[in-house]
């Protein structure tokens, strides 16, 4: 079943996309019809106008999903499952002729020869005008300047058509003619080509780690694949091409000797380190430019014109041969297309960093599989499952060891016979450290649970400590003034700025993260409880005094319920902030949790996994918030109506 789902992702996607399109159009229609009813009975600005509207939610969600399908090339793959493979073949051709293109003004504006001449002439001028004084002898200086002059001369000779050897002229013509042949081939009928059976057996687009199957699977693909092989041969030929000329060769030989001599003279005389360093540096600079010129890659201005025309025709022919693939690419495959590297074809642009929704779901199902032995889970932990845990571990988590130290009596000592009999304190300590087997209980487990657990524990601590303190700060001068500086000093610091410190102090296990989150939740709860408490209407407090309520009763029955809306809003905010902080903290350290998964995924550029974690975080955050909204509307219906 999973295999089928995985193989047929394109088909599944096309069904989903059609459903989404229908949903989008239908919900917009319903929405528009509703809007005309509503327009009559409600005034602008009335918050009631936000009630309901599920159809807009539906159209919003389906629009997002459709955009996602589109920009991730999900639409392209669903309806044109072969396009990716054909684009890969085209990419092969483009990669193959890239070296020839690079020498011509096609992608860049100038011939490579022109660029070489401009750059080297500039650098020669700089070298000449910055000649270091007092480092070289007069004769050496003359010699060096001579090399610079020779270099300029070489450029001149290579640029002169009359000096170009016949052999190199013929070689260029050869390549042009071969290219023209390929161009002819491109415009001929390719339907008679047949993809190899090996090619047809390749896995579908995107179902394995290699994104696009490399071998052609369509006649058109076979054509491009074939062309690419020939083009590669031509490129090799072109790269070997040199502008040989007898005139240049003699100068090059002479100059080489000169440089060699100069280098030797460095070693002979004993000079100060500084002077030696400067000499070496200058000679090297001169030599570097010379080396760029002596290999004969500069051609006369008209030498490559014919080749340039052939390449242009060739490229045009490629576009022509692509045929409707061009339309598919323009409308359904946004972004930078497909690129071929040495061993594989990869999607570029949004197709790369935005994986297709169906791929993401497939990845999620893989992670969600709780069977660790069969490749489920991630890095040895399930995503969200349960496991047996020892009660002893729980006990050791809850009872701190030092509590036992405080008990009267000493720990046991070994006897003179070398025996050790544990006394009651030893036994209790073993208990507190979780060394006593107490049975097992089932417990939730997995990356998601680990993250949830951290947030919930921190939030609970934050609420139980923060709310009482906040309420007292709202009503008592001492509490307000005493705790204000502490809280207001640490609160504005972004939690992540605390993270390195806290994780160092408490360790990278749960303790550190929980404490970090607790700090976040605590500050938020204190502030919201404080605002709620201090916002109690004075007349309500006075009324309850006159009704005979004691201070404690006022706190419990008037101030607390009055602060409840603020407290619940505080919890809602705290959950959100904690969740965000947690993921970041897990990225810094740890071996479990959603943030941990994303961090690993980042280092291996597993975009599907990155998006799975992002979606899990987003959906859980959304779930928290919906839950809190529900709780708020159920528990405090009087909000804003007092």
């Amino acid at each position: 079943m999973l295999d089928w789902l995985s193989q047929e992702r394109a088909f599944i996607a096309s069904v989903i996309i059609v459903i989404l399109l229908i949903t989008l159009l239908w919900s917009i229609l319903v929405g528009l019809r509703q809007a005309t009813y509503r327009a009559k009975d409600q005034v602008f600005g009335d918050p009631e106008r936000t009630l309901g509207g599920w159809y807009w939610t539906l159209s919003g969600v389906s629009a997002i999903l459709l955009l996602w399908f589109y920009f991730s090339w999900g639409v392209g793959r669903a309806f044109f499952p072969e396009a990716g493979n054909e684009m890969c073949q085209v990419a092969k051709v483009e990669t193959a002729i890239a070296p020839i293109k690079a020498a011509l003004p096609i992608d860049s504006r100038y011939f490579k020869s022109t660029e070489l001449i401009v750059r080297n002439t500039e650098q020669l001028d700089v070298l000449e005008s910055n000649f270091p004084e007092g480092v070289f002898s007069e004769t050496e200086k003359e010699e060096l300047l001579n090399i610079i002059v020779s270099s300029r001369k070489i450029i001149g000779i290579f640029s002169d058509q009359d000096n170009q050897s016949l052999e190199s002229k013929l070689a260029i013509r050869d390549i042009s003619q071969d290219l023209d042949e390929l161009t002819d081939k491109l415009s001929k009928d390719y339907t008679k080509f047949n993809p190899s059976s090996e090619g047809l057996l390749q896995p579908n687009w995107g179902t394995t780690r290699i994104e696009l199957p490399l071998l052609p699977i369509t006649p058109k693909g076979v054509l491009f694949d074939d062309i690419s092989k020939h083009a590669e041969v031509l490129s090799q030929k072109f790269l070997k091409l040199r502008n040989n000329s007898a005139a240049a060769n003699s100068i090059i030989e002479a100059t080489k000797q000169q440089i060699k001599r100069l280098k030797l003279s460095n070693e002979a005389a004993d000079r100060s380190d500084e002077v030696l360093k400067e000499r070496k540096h200058y000679i090297k600079a001169v030599e570097r430019i010379f080396r760029r010129l002596d290999d004969g890659t500069i051609f006369p201005p008209q030498a490559l014109d014919e080749l340039n025309d052939s390449i242009k025709d060739f490229l045009r022919a490629i576009e022509g041969a692509k045929g409707n693939l061009r339309l598919v690419q323009a409308f359904f495959i946004p972004g930078a297309g497909v690129v071929k590297s040495k061993t594989q074809c990869t999607e570029q642009g949004s197709g790369r960093w935005l994986p297709k929704p169906t791929d993401v779901v497939a990845k999620f199902l893989l992670l969600a599989n709780p069977n660790l032995e069969n490749g489920g889970g991630y890095k040895g932990t399930t995503l969200f499952w349960w496991d047996w845990i020892e009660i002893a571990d729980l006990v050791s988590f809850l009872i701190p060891d030092f509590l036992i130290d405080l008990l009267p009596g000493d720990y046991g000592v070994h006897s003179e016979q070398g025996l050790f009999v544990p006394n009651y304190k030893d036994k209790l300590q073993a208990f507190a450290q979780g060394d006593v087997y107490l049975g097992v209980i089932p417990m939730l487990d997995g990356h998601i649970w680990d993250s949830l657990f951290r947030v919930l524990v921190a939030l609970a601590l934050g609420i139980f400590l923060g709310v009482p303190l906040g309420i007292y700060m709202g009503i008592s001068r001492f509490f307000k003034s005493f705790f204000d500086p502490i809280i207001e000093l640490y609160r504005p610091v972004p939690p992540l700025a605390w993270a390195p410190l806290i994780l160092t102090i408490f360790g990278i296990q749960d303790d550190g993260k929980i404490f970090l989150l607790f700090m976040v939740a605590f500050a938020i709860m204190v502030i919201s409880a404080r605002t709620g408490a201090s916002g109690t209407q004075l007349s309500k407090i006075r009324a309850s005094h006159s009704l005979g309520a004691s201070n404690r009763q006022i706190l419990r029955y008037v101030i607390l319920p009055n602060a409840l809306p603020e407290i619940l809003t505080g919890i809602r905010i705290a959950i959100g902030v904690c969740w965000g902080t947690l993921v970041a903290a897990e990225m810094l350290a740890g071996t479990t949790g959603i943030g941990f998964i994303e961090n690993v995924a980042r280092t291996v550029s597993d975009y599907e996994l990155i998006w799975v974690t992002i979606l899990i975080m987003g959906l859980l955050g959304l779930a928290f918030d919906l839950l809190m909204r529900l709780i708020i509307s159920r528990t405090i219906p009087w909000r804003g109506k007092g």
């Binding site: 209407q537 309500k540 006159s546 009704l547 005979g548 309520a549 109506k641």
Partner: protein, 265 residues
């Protein structure tokens, strides 16, 4: 014996930031006997609320003394019930939970408090609304709840600060009758602050007209209208020549005071 006695009451507010001192009240002297109905009238800012808050125990006077039933007034207590302009109901509680708030604070038994709540809701005309949340009530109903909440506690003195100020004319008249009835039936001492001259005349066996800067009792009246109101419809009383005469006198007195303030300012 069971009187409310105020002797030489003075109240001076000093602004902590500017150091400006305001003499809100100066030398207030009066005795309110048990069962008396006193209304207090005066231009805005003459210290009416301040006086009430001091009697309720929310403010300590700068000097002078107050006693109720021969005990010194020192902080709020159930003996002195308070009704605020806006009800000050607990919006998170239902009507009956609001009304039995005081009883719950005293830990009265459930059965006893239930019957008391029922009785008072009926008296103020809210039977059947026990389980309604207070934010769903109209302004007049909310004031009735506030009255019931105060009366359930059986206070000796009821203090009201513009209790009907936020109500429309008709509801206001109904509530005025209700207050008169309650006064008659319970025999409680009632001190009521109002902005409306008519209301002050109708709801005051005695009437203080206060003057500002410093706040003091300018003139005291003894009036027959409250007694009359127990038998005659309030509208008829308002039309009597005697009523109009006193009303005009007090109105011009207050106008003079307002003018003085404006002229002085």
């Amino acid at each position: 014996m069971s009187d409310l006695i105020c002797k030489n009451l003075c109240m001076t507010f000093s602004n902590a930031q500017t150091g400006v001192k305001v003499e809100a009240l100066k030398d207030i002297n009066f005795t309110l006997k048990k069962g008396e109905l006193l209304s207090v009238l005066g231009p805005s800012g003459c210290g009416k609320t301040t006086l009430l808050n001091m009697i309720a125990g929310f403010l300590n006077p700068t000097s002078g003394s107050m006693t109720l039933n021969s005990t010194k007034i020192d902080g709020p207590s159930v003996e002195r019930g308070m009704v605020f302009q806006q009800g000050a109901l607990f919006e998170w509680l239902t009507v009956s939970k609001n009304v039995d708030f005081g009883l719950r604070m005293k830990k009265t038994s459930q059965g006893e408090s239930d019957s008391l709540v029922e009785k008072w809701l009926e008296i103020v005309g809210l039977q059947g609304f026990g389980n309604t949340p207070t934010y769903q009530l109209s302004g007049g109903m909310q004031q009735r709840v506030a009255l019931a909440r105060c009366l359930v506690n059986d206070p000796d003195v009821i203090l009201m600060d513009e209790p009907l100020g936020a109500l429309d004319a008709l509801t206001r008249e109904k509530m005025q009758s209700l207050i008169l009835e309650l006064w008659k039936e319970t025999g409680k001492t009632i001190l009521i602050i109002t902005h409306s001259v008519e209301e002050a005349l109708l709801l005051g066996e005695r009437l203080f007209v206060m003057a500002p800067r410093p706040g003091r009792i300018h003139k005291e009246y003894k009036l027959p209208f409250a007694e009359q109101g127990l038998q005659t419809p309030l509208r008829d009383i308002k039309q009597s020549p005697q009523f109009s005469e006193v009303r005009e006198e007090i109105l011009s007195m207050i106008w003079d005071m307002e003018e003085e303030i404006m002229g002085g300012a």
